[in-house]
Symmetry: C2
Subunit: 278 residues, 2 copies
């Protein structure tokens, strides 16, 4: 597989230039900062081969924890094998449930919906930042700019057009310990790690990153009421991934992430299949 | 990227052996035929690189044609930016709408649901069989065993563990001419091409194929009331893809298909993102 940037423009998608062009305009309106355009990552990476695949996706059912304290999905039976000769459901689906994508329009007055995210920004280098130990000591831990600088000191500059994933160790407890995964306290405040807005701003302004990912319920940490990272990142035309699974199996760098998101018109988010190829 | 078979077993998925083992058992019950087990395709294919990506996915909205004459998706607004500071919908989704997967359980009393399809059978070699000219002359055209034999005469034996895709030219008209795409006549009978059950049976018994794909509404052709290909193929534990887009851009052989299907528990089908890497 070639790295993303050397892929041809996809017929039905938006061009990278168009996508990030709008992103910059939107971000300028929100944060009054200049956003570095994201060039094609191919310029710095040669074609490469892959030898194994990691499924970064949780199974989504009615029991999977959600941010909203309601089931993420419910089923209505439309056909049954015994009666109709086949089985079929209709889903009532909260589009931000399970392992899912946040499209720019999720936190912006205007912005790309799921179907408008450029296809070639959905196949990107994956950078995994391990904050497990810090998150074990602080359930509200915010991944910081220092964490990113430390990652670069070990692994080199973040690849152009990559997805930066926070690995807080929460993928392990999403199913086994949903109460801890959500972290709701007696006052109703949630507690789980997220990405600091200042870290997101640094990535937006000083690096060339297509997406953020977290293994928790939200890009912002549990207690956040401002949703600063959501606002900054999505308003800038980038996408986010939440409830990512199995990041403990992914290398810090070198994998390619494929974001398998159904191309649903106008959607602000959608459940996804995430494969990392190593 | 390595070809699928050399990928490590994915933690949360079923093993290929387990998947096709159940498939064989189910098929034996239905068709009283022995089904050839499908070995890992890696045995015959070396690691390879890819240089471009083709998006084989239609955009799914309420207007996209469905088999059932009802909208495939409808939206309920859960949050609005102007009022709530963010946008969010709940989808009412027919799980067999748009470019989607049929899981084995769709046409079987027992069988794998979407979440139970082994992850490593979702990244497979793609074989595209062009029947556009025949479909132009016969809207009910059935891809035949002869078509498959002719494909092999040109391109060699179908790769182990591949997806066989029927390219009937219907991807071009799904959006531009939905009435012709559905082909409903005055009596209510539908007209569009599909795959003949005898061709599916040959693939099941004499080749080692993971999935079937069509650029029409159904694996069976429009007038079918028996759904012979659905029953044979899905009961054998294989998956199917319907409403595939842009097959005119895919080569007859040499591409790798990634089936990005959300991992929804118990689902009989699901909208997917399909990427072909060439």
């Amino acid at each position: 597989m070639c790295v993303p940037g050397c892929m041809e423009a996809v017929r039905a998608g938006l061009s990278r230039r168009g996508f990030f062009g709008r992103a910059g305009a939107a971000a300028a309106g929100f944060a009054a900062t200049a956003v570095t355009p994201v060039p094609a990552p191919a310029a710095t990476l040669a074609p490469r081969s892959f030898e194994r695949m990691i499924d970064l996706t949780h199974t989504l059912g009615p029991q999977f924890p959600t941010f909203f304290d309601t089931p993420g999905i419910e089923f209505e039976t439309r056909a049954e094998y015994a009666k109709d000769g086949y089985n079929m459901y209709v889903w009532k689906l909260l589009e931000h449930a399970g392992t899912h994508i946040d499209a720019p329009i999720h936190f912006a007055a205007k912005g790309a919906s799921v179907d408008q995210i450029a296809a070639d920004t959905l196949v990107v280098p994956l950078a995994v930042v391990d904050v497990v130990e810090r998150a074990d000591n602080d359930p509200d831990y915010l991944l910081s700019r220092d964490d990113l600088v430390a990652w670069e000191a070990k692994h080199g500059r973040l690849p152009r057009g990559c997805c930066v994933a926070m690995h807080a160790g929460f993928g392990r407890i999403a199913v086994s310990d949903p109460a801890r995964f959500i972290g709701r306290d007696v006052d109703g405040t949630l507690h789980f790690p997220g990405i600091a807005p200042e870290a997101a701003a640094w990535l937006l302004n000083d690096r060339e990153v297509a997406g953020l990912a977290v293994d928790t319920l939200s890009l912002d940490n549990g207690p956040s009421t401002e949703f600063g990272t959501h606002k900054l990142w999505l308003t800038a035309g980038r996408w986010g991934l939440e409830n990512v699974a199995n990041l403990d199996q992914a290398p810090p760098t070198g994998a390619t992430l494929v974001v398998g998101v159904p191309k649903v018109k106008d959607a602000t988010g959608a459940p996804v299949r995430l494969f990392a190829f190593v």
